[in-house]
Amino acid sequence: MGRADFRNPVSESRRAKWITIFVAGVFLALVLFIPLVAVFVEAFRLGWGAVLAAITQPDALAAIRLTLLVAAISVPLNMVFGVAAAWAIAKYEFKGKAFLTTLIDLPFSVSPVIAGLVYVLLFGTGSFLGPIFNSAGMQILFAVPGVVLATMFVTFPFVARELIPLMEDQGTGDEEAAISLGASGWQTFWRVTLPNIKWGLLYGVLLSNARAMGEFGAVSVVSGRLRGETVTMPLHIEILYNEYNFAAAFAVAALLALLALVTLVLKALLERVYGRDHAGAVRH
C-alpha cells in the first residue's frame, strides 16, 4: 500500500504510469523487437530449403563448429577464474583489492576492438611473444588460440560480477562453520560455498556464454578471417553480407539469434527459481 493511495486522486499517477510504459514499449519495439523479427522474416523469405542450404554449407558449418568450440573453451575457463576472483575479493582483505575489482571491470569499459589489438601487439610478428610461440610451432594470432583469448578477455567479467555481490552478502560464516565441523577447504567449497552460489554462478555462465558466441569486434581483429578455419558465426555473417549474399547472411543470423534466445529463456527460467531460492537464502 503506497502513500499515493490516499494522497491524490489516482488519475495523474495512472497517466504517468501509462506514458512510461508506452515510451518504454515503443522504444523496445523499434530498437529490439522489430529488428529481431526482421532477421527471421528475412531469413525465411526464400523458404526453409534456402535456410537449410545456407546453414549446411561447409564454411557455415565450420563457423558454427568454431563458435561452439570457442564458447566451450572460454566459458568453463572464465567460470573457474570468475569464481576464484570473486572468492578472493569477497572473502579476503588484501592490498590492491580495489585495483583488482576495477581490473575485472576493464573488459566492460574497453572497446572490444582494442582488446583484439592488444593481442595483435602481444603475439604479432614484430612482438616479443609471437616469435617465441611461432618457433615452438604454435600459431596464436590468426588462429583458434587467438580467437579463444580474445573471447575470454571480453567475457571475463560476467561470472565474477555476478558472484561478488552475492558472496559479499553471504559473508564467511557458513565457511567458518563448515571448517569448525572438520571439513577441509575442498569439502567446504564443494558442499557449502558452491551450493550457496550455484544459481548466481549459472546465471553468470549463461550471460558469459551468450556473449562468447556473439562476440564480433575483438575476434574480428585477431581472426584473420581464414574461411573455414578462423571464422566464427558473427564473422561469417558479415562476410556473407559483404558478398551481397543476404539470404544466407540472414539465415545464419537467425540461427545465432536463436541461440541467444534460448539463452535468454534459460536465464528467465533460472531467475524464477533463483528468485524463489534467494528469498529463503536471506540471512536470518
Partner: protein, 345 residues
C-alpha cells in the same frame, strides 16, 4: 578438557582487541564471557576456537599448545551468533555434516550418521523436524539445530557466540535453562559470550567480566555480584549507586559529615562509594548515615524507588525502600548501605 589462555594479545589493523589476557578454564566448567560490545569477548572466543590466531601468547588445550592448530584440528563445537546453518541442507544433513566430512577411515556409515543425527535431534527436542530446511524453522529451533550440529562432532570444548542474542525474551529464558540442562547432561567444557549480565549470572559457573580488551574480574556469579573488584565491574553488573566520598582515619565522609561507614582498608584521601540501591536500610534521621532529600519517588511492582539529593544537593543517588514508607517529595530520608564497596580515586 581444560583450556588455558596465556598472556594473549590480538590486534586488528594495529587496533588492540585483546591486551594481555590470561584465563584458566577448568574441565567441565560452564563459563560466561561478559562485557559490552567492543570489550573483546567474541575475539577471545574465536581465539580459543582457532578461527583467529593471537599475535602474542598461547592457548593450551590440556597440556598441549593448541595455538598453531587450525579450528579443524582443535575439534571444538562452535555455535555462531546467527547459527550459520547450511541453508541448502535439511536439518538432518546439517546435523550430520561434521560426521560426513570425516576422512574415510573415521567416517561412520551413512546409516550410522543418520542414526546419530536423529539421536541428537531427539536430544535437542526437535524430533519430527529432520526433513525441514533451516528457513522453515523458528529462531529457537535454528539455535537448537546449530547446537546439535556442534555436538555431533563430539567436541572437546563447546563455544557459543551470543547464543541467545537473536531470540525474543520468552524463548531466551526457556533456552537458557535448557542449555544449562544440556551442559549438565553432556559435561562439555562450555564457554559462551554474552552482553546480558542476567544471562551470565543465571547460567554460568564462573563469569569473566571484560571491558576494553582486558579481563576485569573472574569469579562465581556471587563473587561478581557481591564483591566487584573495580568501579567498572560494579557499575556494569546490576543496579548501582555511587557517591564521591573522602576518607579519613578509615572512615567515610560526605561533605564533611561522617557516614558511619568503614573505608574497608582504602587509604585516606578521595574515594568512591558504591552500593546496590536495594541493599540499604532506612534509619532515623538523627543517626550518622547518608541523609538526603527526596526528589523523585516511583512506585514499582514490589518496592518504591527513590531518588535523593545528598551532600548539599550536589549528588543524586537512587535507593529502594519498602512501599509502605511515606516518602513524599522534599521529605528527608536517612539510610545506610548494608553492603558496600569503596574504591580510591
Amino acid at each position: 578438557m581444560e583450556v588455558k589462555v596465556k598472556n594473549v594479545r590480538k590486534e586488528f589493523d594495529k587496533f588492540p582487541a585483546l591486551k594481555d589476557v590470561s584465563l584458566n578454564i577448568k574441565s567441565g566448567e560452564l563459563i560466561a564471557l561478559l562485557g559490552p560490545s567492543g570489550s573483546g569477548k567474541t575475539t577471545l572466543l574465536r581465539l580459543i576456537a582457532g578461527l583467529d590466531f593471537p599475535n602474542v601468547g598461547a592457548i593450551y588445550f590440556g597440556d598441549q599448545d593448541a595455538s598453531q592448530k587450525s579450528v579443524r584440528e582443535r575439534n571444538v563445537g562452535f555455535v555462531f551468533q546467527h547459527y550459520a546453518l547450511f541453508r541448502h541442507m535439511r536439518v538432518l544433513d546439517n546435523v550430520g555434516f561434521g560426521l560426513k566430512v570425516r576422512k574415510k577411515g573415521d567416517r561412520p556409515s551413512k546409516a550410522e550418521i543418520e542414526r546419530r543425527a536423529m539421536e541428537l535431534l531427539d536430544f535437542v527436542q526437535l524430533k519430527g523436524l529432520e526433513k525441514r530446511y533451516p528457513n522453515q524453522l523458528s529462531g529457537g529451533q535454528r539455535q537448537r539445530v546449530a547446537l546439535a550440529r556442534a555436538l555431533a562432532i563430539e567436541p572437546k570444548v563447546l563455544l557459543l557466540d551470543e547464543p541467545f542474542g537473536a531470540l525474543d525474551a520468552q524463548v531466551r529464558k526457556e533456552l537458557r535453562r535448557w542449555l544449562r540442562d544440556i551442559h549438565d547432561k553432556t559435561g562439555h567444557t562450555t564457554v559462551f559470550v554474552t552482553h546480558d549480565q542476567e544471562e551470565a549470572l543465571e547460567l554460568a559457573d564462573r563469569v569473566v567480566v571484560m571491558s576494553q580488551g582486558r579481563i576485569e574480574q573472574v569469579g562465581t556469579p556471587d563473587e561478581i555480584y557481591d564483591t566487584p573488584n573495580s568501579p567498572a565491574v560494579f557499575s556494569f553488573i546490576g543496579e548501582s549507586s555511587k557517591l564521591p566520598v573522602s576518607i579519613e582515619n578509615g572512615q567515610l565522609y560526605l561533605a564533611d559529615r561522617p557516614l558511619g561507614l568503614d573505608a574497608k582498608g582504602v587509604p585516606d584521601g578521595e574515594g568512591q562509594l558504591f552500593f546496590r540501591p536495594h541493599d540499604v536500610e532506612v534509619v532515623e534521621t538523627g543517626e550518622t548515615a547518608i541523609v538526603g532529600t527526596v526528589v523523585v519517588s516511583r512506585r514499582t511492582a514490589g518496592t518504591r524507588q527513590v531518588e535523593l539529593e545528598v551532600g548539599g544537593a550536589k549528588e543524586r543517588v537512587e535507593i529502594e525502600i519498602p512501599v509502605d514508607h511515606p516518602a513524599t517529595s522534599r521529605s528527608r530520608i536517612a539510610f545506610r548501605p548494608k553492603k558496600w564497596s569503596v574504591f580510591a580515586g
